[in-house]
Amino acid sequence: MGKADSVFEIIGPIMLGPSSSHTAGAVYIGRMGRAVLGETPVQAVIQLHGSFALTGRGHGTDKAIVAGLLGFDPDDERIPRALELAKEAGIVVKFRKVDLGEDHHPNTARLLLEDSKGTHLEITASSVGGGNISVEEIDGLPVKLSGESHTLVTIHKDQPGIVAKTTALIARYGVNISTMNVSRQHRGGPAAMAIEMDQPLPPEALRELEKWVQMARLIPPLY
């Protein structure tokens, strides 16, 4: 895991047991999926890899991810009942044990989500220790995201000027970028940007962004 260097990283989070990585981290993975999708999914296929597949059930990883998809916090007393609550809300949830390969952290889940308009999203994230997570891929595109900061995620078509226009827009709102990564499938193909910022970008910025990207989401800090 990363080096915890602040008081409440050492003492915290307040959470439902039994495991900061397999339970609290799993809730955050679900919450991240929900945030990037933009709403509670109507359908979710949850693929569990490595230790998540091996010991996830005993740690309540399945319930925890679904709790996150429902927007719960890691200390929500409803986590143990998350599967029933999802069913009552009409959400179709399926679990699959998968092997994503050795490149992936042992505590990794891939979520295949569908929203009410039929839009699909695939997001892969790992629980890297102490409840902290790291997003690895969105729609198959490598993207690094910690969820610690205000984050802008976009899916767009790879073409010259998109990145410059986006960062210029952020600058216009006086927002400072702390980290940024860009990836694409192939030249001119689908591409993604993940931009972590020191301040939140106002929602009206999204309407401008959507003139040149297919999807843009603002994600508030997870922790």
């Binding site: 080096k3 915890a4 050492i10 915290g12 439902l16 047991g17 039994p18 005993g58 309540g60 200390d75």
Partner: protein, 289 residues
């Protein structure tokens, strides 16, 4: 007290000495500066955490908790209900408390990761003990948590607080060192004595492997919370008697890092070795859903 920083226990103790403050006060001041937050706000945040810890203690000691797997639950409550035959009533109570909070965690109850969920019973057990033994106030307990956090930060920066990286010594070991530091400060110890308590405690926890049966945070994790609080009490007792560790705390932390790196993968939370690999450990695993 601006522009203070620490990465080692030596630096933390030196800052305390220079400013004539306790370790807890330095940890709080540094955090307030880094977060650009008023100390008052951070103390309140810690108070919320302490209340969650207290609720977990109460639940584990009074309710019948049972984990999903059925492997754990009820031992803390049982130990608290009998008259101890060897330990003093308070020390037996501290062990029962550590077990109880670990059991609440295994039963998907609400706890505070300290530093991890698997080691969540040790620091609360120490502070509940200090409250009764030293008759300290809730405000003192809050400051004790800042002392504990400072030790956790130093261990995290120079070794690890993850069982998957450093074995159980990194989780229950660090939690025990955090508890020993808080107990020493709340018992009236000097910052230097806090350092010796950390050194003693980690010395006795050094090398402890992470070998959870069936990969679950139950056997032996819950028991090791109780073992760790015993080591914390011993370490604080030694330090408060002004006994000094031959090896300085920062070097013990360095040794913990080296030992953690040397541990084979099978003994770092993979459930492949140690107690997880015993005939009974394997049988328990095969019986789980």
């Amino acid at each position: 007290m601006s522009n203070m920083q620490y990465q080692t226990l030596h630096q933390l103790i030196k800052l305390a000495a220079e400013h004539n403050k306790r370790i807890s006060e330095i940890v709080l001041a540094v955090e307030a500066e880094q977060k650009q937050e008023r100390p008052e706000v951070l103390r309140n945040q810690m108070l919320t955490i302490w209340h969650v810890m207290q609720q977990a203690i109460k639940r584990g000691l009074t309710e019948d908790v049972k984990s999903l797997s059925g492997l754990s639950g009820g031992d803390g409550k049982r130990l608290a209900s009998v008259t101890p035959k060897l330990l003093s009533r308070q020390v037996a109570r501290a062990a029962a408390t550590a077990l109880a909070v670990g059991e609440v965690n295994a039963a998907m109850g609400r706890i505070v990761a300290c530093p991890t969920a698997g080691s969540c019973g040790i620091v609360p057990a120490a502070l509940a003990f200090a409250m009764e033994q030293f008759k300290v106030s809730e405000e003192d307990v809050i400051m004790g948590l800042f002392t504990a956090a400072g030790i956790g930060i130093v261990c995290s920066l120079n070794a690890s607080i993850s069982g998957a990286e450093g074995g159980c010594q990194a989780e229950c070991g660090v939690a025990a060192a955090m508890a020993a530091a808080a107990l020493t400060e709340l018992g009236g110890g000097t910052p230097e004595q806090v350092g010796h308590a950390v050194a003693f405690c980690l010395t006795n926890m050094l090398g402890l492997v992470c070998d959870p049966v069936a990969g679950l945070v139950e056997v032996p994790c819950i028991l090791r919370n109780a073992g760790a609080i015993m080591q914390a009490l011993l370490a604080a007792e030694l330090a408060l008697a002004d006994i000094k560790s031959r090896i300085p705390a920062d070097e013990v932390i360095g040794a913990m890092h080296e030992v953690g790196e040397a541990l084979p993968e099978s003994l770092r939370e993979t459930a492949k070795g140690g107690l997880a690999n015993t005939p009974t450990g394997k049988r328990l695993r095969s019986r789980l859903p």
